[in-house]
């Protein structure tokens, strides 16, 4: 069927002594959208942040098991995290543009990775802003501060910023949770467009959103992966009772 892009094998994760993930086995298919759902505190963000090793930044964390990206363990000693993060981009829950201009925000990833050529930067910035469906709104003010934009616009700048370094995978942690319905719709539309080019993993608390945007859905519950399947199957015919209770709103 589809090519497996990322495969988690028996992943355990600890914040100090607290175990936040246990025995996660999960396949993520190339150029598909995987939605992670589950009640608050069940480990969705933790899992997502394992995929690009963002958890390395938190003191005292520990990972067991394997996370294979194209067959290569991302937690291997020889892995260069900088290269890993260029291949696995991330969009955060709270939009977090740098206090720089719109242009510099989007060009940042290219610059830190050594791109100096003005023309390439300009082309890439324009292309990424277009992909993130924000070009028309900002094309006349690329050199004003990104902080002067609205929350929804800022979040799309953050998406453009992640796209600019041409990652293979994009991780999104509740990218629309702080946005109004119109901005949310724009971002959902964007995800539809982007999945032709990228593998996407999205965390969401919004069941309709998961149903609308994703091809696969994984349900997490207190650090464990309860069930993962085609989104249609999860929402109409889940195998586990817990999953059914959660998506029908009986708890969580």
């Amino acid at each position: 069927m589809n090519k497996i892009k990322i495969e988690a094998e028996n992943v355990n994760f600890y914040y100090g002594k607290t175990k936040a993930l246990s025995g996660i086995d999960l396949k993520i298919y190339e150029k598909k959208v995987l939605a992670l759902i589950g009640p608050s505190g069940c480990g969705k963000s933790t899992f997502l942040r394992c995929l690009n090793r963002m958890n390395d930044l938190i003191d005292g964390t520990r990972v067991e098991g394997k996370i294979l990206l194209d067959g290569e363990d991302v937690y291997d000693k020889n892995v260069d995290v900088v290269k890993l993060r260029m291949r696995v981009g991330m969009v955060f829950q709270k939009s977090n543009p740098f206090p720089k201009t719109i242009f510099e925000n989007v060009a940042y990833g290219l610059r830190v990775n050594g791109t100096k050529d003005k023309k390439i930067l300009q082309e890439k910035v324009e292309q990424s802003l277009k992909q993130a469906a924000i070009w028309d709104e900002v094309k006349d003010r690329l050199h004003t501060s990104a902080l002067s934009l609205s929350g929804g616009q800022q979040q799309r700048i953050c998406i453009a910023r992640a796209l600019a370094i041409s990652p293979e995978i994009i991780l999104m942690d509740e990218p629309a949770s702080a946005l109004d319905p119109i901005s949310t719709e724009k971002i959902e539309y964007l995800i539809h467009e982007l999945k032709n080019l990228y593998t996407i993993v999205i965390v969401t608390h919004n069941m309709q959103q998961a149903a609308r945007v994703s091809d696969f859905t994984a349900f997490f519950y207190v650090g464990e992966l309860v069930e993962v399947d085609l989104t249609g199957t999860i929402f109409t015919n889940p195998t586990k009772k817990q999953t059914e209770d959660y998506i029908t709103g009986k708890f969580g």
């Binding site: 963002m54 543009p97 740098f98 206090p99």
Partner: protein, 293 residues
């Protein structure tokens, strides 16, 4: 019922009175502090303003320092400020960034922080003695601009480290993570995100320490300050005159203290103005860079 009501009313009233009393008291204290500051300023201005002139700022002292200007002391203080900042700024900023962002937060870092905080509270005469023992004698710099600047840089180092740490701490975790998630290295994140964000804070701390360096007497007493020197230093191994020490000399140990009194007030006024000016610059620059963020 009625009784209850009047009782509760009474309670509220007594609380209100207490509040008013405390408010008036706090206000009086504030006015008192301001008043004292005002008196000091008025005193120094009224006594010192008459001697202020171009000549006072640009001439050598004359007649056993009872006449003439304070030019060499101004230049000397300028040198000391420049060189001490040259040493203290890079070291202090690097140390602050290291402690906050790079060092593993554990026992050692706590110890270093404790030591820096204590260092900030050490009386400056102790720095002076240390400077004399270490820079002047042990390293053999002699009483010189170099020894004085290094001693002064030790005095302000804790301040610079602290303000750098505080400024670095204000950089939101989210934008650091965003930078790292885009494949920036830790150093690139420090250099391109953390430093620009923390810049105004670091700047404020540094400029405030300029005022400190310009005004400190004890650290330069044994390390570089000359009693009287009718010429400017031509190397960092020369002694210099400096404003605070000059003020000390002409108000305590001259032969004609009464005669040089007006010059002393003039000198005090110049020091005050330098300190006020640096603080003003700090405020302006901070606001300027704040807007950019």
């Amino acid at each position: 019922m009625e009784n209850n009501l009047s009782l509760s009313k009474g309670k509220i009233n007594s609380r209100k009175i207490a509040e008013r009393v405390i408010f008036i008291f706090l206000r009086l204290v504030a006015v008192f502090v301001l008043g004292i500051l005002g008196i000091i300023l008025y005193f120094i201005f009224s006594e010192g303003f008459s001697v202020l002139s171009i000549g006072f700022l640009t001439e050598m002292p004359k007649e056993g320092m009872t006449e003439g200007g304070i030019f060499p002391a101004i230049v000397g203080t300028g040198y000391l400020v420049f060189f001490s900042m040259l040493f203290a700024l890079p070291v202090g900023v690097c140390a602050g960034i290291y402690l906050q962002d790079y060092a593993k937060q554990g026992f050692l870092v706590k110890l270093i922080r404790l030591a820096t905080n204590n260092l900030a509270g050490v009386p400056s005469i102790v720095f002076g003695l240390f400077g004399m023992a270490f820079f002047v004698h042990f390293l053999g710099f002699g009483a010189s601009v170099l020894a004085g600047s290094l001693t002064l840089s030790l005095v302000v180092l804790p301040v610079i480290i602290r303000t750098t740490e505080e400024a670095v701490k204000t950089v939101p975790r989210e934008i650091r993570e965003a930078s790292l998630a885009l494949g920036a290295t830790k150093w690139q994140t420090t250099y391109k995100i953390v430093l620009p964000y923390a810049f105004s804070g670091i700047l404020t701390g540094s400029i405030l320490s300029v005022g400190r360096v310009a005004g400190e007497t004890a650290p330069i007493l044994f390390t570089c300050a000359a009693y009287f020197l009718p010429r400017l230093p031509n190397s960092i191994f020369n002694e210099v005159m400096a404003l605070p020490y000059h003020l000390y000399v002409i108000s305590t140990s001259g032969t004609q203290i009464e005669k040089s009194r007006p010059l002393a007030y003039g000198t005090a006024l110049v020091i005050l103005m330098i300190v006020a000016l640096t603080n003003l610059i700090a405020v302006i620059l901070r606001n300027k860079f704040k807007i950019k963020q």
